[in-house]
Symmetry: C2
């Protein structure tokens, strides 16, 4: 029997999820699905990849019926807010409709499966900085196509729990950072630029940037995975938890950290195309709820996380 | 040039919309689209029907680009809460995804079009009866797949207004009643049963019912259309208005009204399959906002509305 069904198994978080399971000596079956296989899988993990289109309900249903996993960790998503403004339909469909396909297939063919649904800090109303850090009681007010998709996902999850008794646990995840992260995400992109400059022997990094004055809550992806496991194994059906560091970092400060870690200076030039409509100024979460309920706390601080990310890029680019 | 693009033109509200436009001597072009043509169209209206699948983005885009309507009145929907529990995916896709296709096609090919987006009272959190009547400031807390779809629709609408400057005006519409309404909707079904009994010469109507203790806010569909026209021509971009009568009616009371109007007695038997998961106990709206902003008020009261509905069924069934 397959214990974990992992969607989006070729992605950034999934890579760390597989490492986590291997390090925890998990000896059950893991079935990864999605459009791409993981770049690498820890050898001791009993892992199998199946390429499927999660938008194809028939295909997904056949698989769910055959496998009936104990857990479904649903990591597949298009998680870029910026991309949701350039391709709103693609973003929405690949978040909400995929999720709806998944829970409908599980409701129909494997109703005992526990599902971990990943939401986003973008769901919150964040106009008013004085209300931060954001707790799970704060209001939803999605202001991008991506945020709407995530809100719809959470509400569908809640309706499936209340109306059908499905076993869904949910997160509102804040920004992640860590090795393997695509350089389109801001701090991974900056780290890549610093790593490239180091490799090239340059003294100064020239960066094309968007709005560096925004504040975000960045959590190391390994802590993200630890939180997901805590929720998957400890939360009550229908629970929703913030997954965050609890600290806000202004993007300017992240550049100072990279400068200190690398010993390089930097220059910035603003590219207006990187400015998003209605950017949230500040997004900081509270992890009090998950800490109280499940005992989870972050284990890596911001500097450690950035150091990990920079090291990853140095190793990747030096190859 | 086509002035009105009417989606869902074969439906209940659309029938009244076309009558309204004819009675108002509207002399522009009306293009109706959807899966079915209207059963009848007022002869003096310049109306054309085109059968299209609103889920087919290419097809819809071609049409929007060719037509570039001044107004798009988006009436196409699957508006049954009960059906959304039996077919959640179909309900969601045929509400939210159709809407997203429409606004994306209009954003891309006809960005000056003003769009009327229809939402629902089901979007509100209604646990606490003391907060009623519901105003536009009350919280969203969708608790059915249908309600989630309508919330997502409104949020997408707001994101398209704020992020792209699209001209969308929105409603949260409460229950409608009136001629042509499908008998699956509760008061139309009851009216049909009373009409059939009258025609059969029976003294007592036997009704199979769900929960008769719930309270809903019913508005005559002709008043609904008047409100939609007021919003379409008078609201500011991004506005959202309740469309409702402002009065709550317990379903029991509706049966008493039908009994009085018809002179018949009635017996009820509860069918548990008609009970919905998590039924909202009471849903009553406030129309203060639209009254203050646009001068709209209901013109027909509940008894007049029921009388109209009963007459419609008597005429339909007597044929």
């Amino acid at each position: 029997m397959t214990e974990y069904l992992l969607t989006g198994c070729g992605g950034f978080v999934a890579a760390h999820y597989l490492e986590y399971l291997a390090q925890a000596d998990f000896d059950g079956q893991v079935l990864g699905v999605g459009t791409t296989a993981p770049a690498q899988v820890p050898t001791k993990l009993r892992f199998r990849f199946e390429k499927i289109n999660l938008l194809d309900f028939e295909e997904l249903s056949l698989l769910v019926r055959a496998v009936q996993p104990k857990f479904c960790v649903h990591l597949a998503s298009m998680s870029s807010v910026a991309d949701s403004w350039t391709h709103p339909k693609t973003s929405f469909v690949n978040n909400t409709n995929i999720f709806l396909n998944l829970i409908e297939a599980i409701r129909t063919y494997s109703s005992e499966t526990r599902i971990l649904s990943i939401g986003s800090s973008e769901q919150y109303r964040t106009k008013d900085v004085s209300t931060q850090p954001l707790t799970e009681m704060d209001l939803m007010a999605p202001n991008s196509p991506y945020a709407v998709a995530r809100c719809a996902q959470e509400w569908l999850g809640k309706a499936y729990v209340a109306g059908y008794g499905l076993d869904i646990v949910m997160t509102r995840s804040f920004n992640h950072i860590g090795p393997y992260q695509d350089s389109r995400f801001v701090l991974s992109g900056f780290s890549r630029s610093f790593a490239q400059a180091l490799i090239n022997g340059e003294k100064t990094v020239n960066l094309t940037v968007g709005d560096l004055d925004v504040v975000r809550d960045f959590l190391h992806v390994r802590d993200v995975v630890r939180a997901y496991e805590a929720i998957l194994h400890g939360a009550s059906k229908g629970d929703v938890f913030n997954v965050c560091s609890g600290r806000g970092v202004r993007l300017f400060k992240a550049l100072d950290v990279l400068s200190r870690l690398s010993g390089l200076n930097y220059d910035t030039e603003i590219d207006k195309s990187l400015l998003r409509p209605m950017e949230n100024r500040s997004v900081i979460g509270s992890h009090d709820a998950i800490t109280v309920a499940l005992g989870w706390t972050p284990s890596l601080n911001f500097e450690e996380s950035m150091s990990d990310l920079l090291t990853y890029w140095i190793e990747s680019l030096a190859v």
